[in-house]
C-alpha cells in the first residue's frame, strides 16, 4: 500500500466483510502532539481473543480457503505505523464489533502520505449502500481546531429510494467530502 488512505480502504473492507452495519471513521491530525491518528470502529461480528491475535499475524486470514491469497492488510498497517514510532491497537468483542486505533508520528520521515482520502471515502460510501458511515476529520494546528463531520444516514433519509449511484448524488457526496478535506487541511498530509 502506497498511502494511509489505501490502508483505510482495506480496513473498511474488513469491517464490511465482518457484516458491519455502521462504520465510524475518525482521522485526527495534531501538530502539537505530532500525531496522525486513524480510528475505525465497526459493529460487525467482532473477534475473540485468539482470532484477534491471529489477525495481526501476517500468515493468517479470515477469508475462506479458495480466496486465501492475502491476509496481509492488518499486519502491514501495523508495521507501517510502528516504523514511524507510532502504535497500533485493535480491540474486539464477539457480537459487538471491532475498534482499530492507528497512530503515525506526523513528521516521521518514514510516514506514508495520507493520500487520496476523498476517493477512498467516496468509493466506500457509494460502493456499500447497505452500510452507514460516520466520518469525522479533526485538524489541530497551533491550538486551533478545525473539524468536519459527515454521516450517510441523513443523506439516505433525504434520498429515499434514489440510489447513491445517481449521477447528481455522486457529485454531491464528492463535493461535500472534498470541501471537508480542504477545510480541515487534510489534502497534503
Amino acid at each position: 500500500m502506497q498511502d494511509i488512505s489505501l490502508h483505510l480502504l482495506d480496513i473498511i473492507e474488513n469491517s464490511v466483510r465482518a457484516k458491519a452495519k455502521n462504520i465510524k471513521i475518525r482521522i485526527i491530525r495534531n501538530m502539537q502532539e505530532n500525531i496522525l491518528r486513524l480510528i475505525v470502529e465497526d459493529d460487525g461480528t467482532g473477534m475473540d481473543a485468539q482470532t484477534l491475535e491471529k489477525a495481526q499475524d501476517p500468515f493468517y486470514t479470515s477469508k475462506v480457503e479458495r480466496e486465501k491469497k492475502v491476509g496481509l492488510g492488518i499486519p502491514l498497517v501495523k508495521q507501517n505505523a510502528e516504523a514511524t514510532n507510532g502504535s497500533f491497537k485493535m480491540t474486539s468483542e464477539p457480537g459487538f464489533g471491532t475498534v482499530l486505533t492507528v497512530d503515525f508520528q506526523l513528521n516521521h520521515i518514514d510516514r506514508m502520505p495520507l493520500g487520496n482520502l476523498k476517493d477512498t471515502l467516496l468509493g466506500a460510501i457509494i460502493g456499500h449502500p447497505e452500510v452507514d458511515f460516520t466520518i469525522k476529520l479533526i485538524s489541530n494546528e497551533g491550538g486551533v481546531e478545525k473539524s468536519f463531520f459527515f454521516e450517510t444516514t441523513a443523506i439516505k433519509e433525504e434520498l429515499g429510494d434514489i440510489p447513491l449511484t445517481y449521477p447528481d448524488v455522486i457529485e454531491f457526496i464528492n463535493q461535500t467530502i472534498l470541501e471537508g478535506i480542504q477545510n480541515t487541511n487534510m489534502e497534503d498530509v
Binding site: E13, E67, K69, L122, T165, V169
Partner: protein
C-alpha cells in the same frame, strides 16, 4: 457549501426521471476491493466508474464494491452484470480501460473482449 436542501432537489429530479423510464437498474457493476485489488489500483478503478457515471449522466447503472474474488493475479477485477445476460468479468483494469468499458459495454452494449477474463456465473 452543499446542504440537505440540494439533496431534496436531486431527489425530485431523480423521481421525475424514474417515473418516465420505469426506474429500474439496467446494469450492475461490482468492483473487487480486497487487499490485493486495492494494492493494484482498485480504488482508482472505482473512482473512474463513478466519474464516468456522473459525467455521462448514466442514471440506470449501479456500482458497488466487494471483497476478494480469488483472482488475485488479475486484479483489479470488475464484474458487469446485465439482467438476463451472463455476467462478464474484466481483469487487470485501469482507469483507461474503465472508460472504454463504460462507453463500449455499458453505453453501447458491446462487450470489450480484450479485457474479459471470465464470463458466466
Amino acid at each position: 457549501m452543499k446542504t440537505l436542501a440540494d439533496l431534496k432537489k436531486i431527489r425530485e429530479k431523480a423521481q421525475e426521471e424514474m417515473k418516465l423510464r420505469g426506474g429500474n437498474t439496467r446494469i450492475k457493476v461490482v468492483v473487487g476491493m480486497g487487499t490485493s485489488g486495492i494494492a493494484m489500483g482498485a480504488r482508482e478503478v472505482m473512482k473512474t466508474f463513478l466519474e464516468e457515471i456522473a459525467n455521462r449522466n448514466l442514471t440506470d447503472v449501479l456500482v458497488t464494491q466487494t471483497g476478494e474474488k480469488g483472482l488475485s493475479s488479475l486484479e483489479p477485477v470488475v464484474d458487469v452484470i446485465e439482467e438476463g445476460k451472463p455476467k462478464v468479468t474484466y481483469g487487470n483494469m485501469t482507469p483507461e480501460k474503465v472508460k472504454k468499458v463504460v462507453i463500449e459495454h455499458i453505453v453501447n452494449g458491446r462487450i470489450v473482449s480484450d479485457y474479459v477474463v471470465a464470463t458466466g456465473n
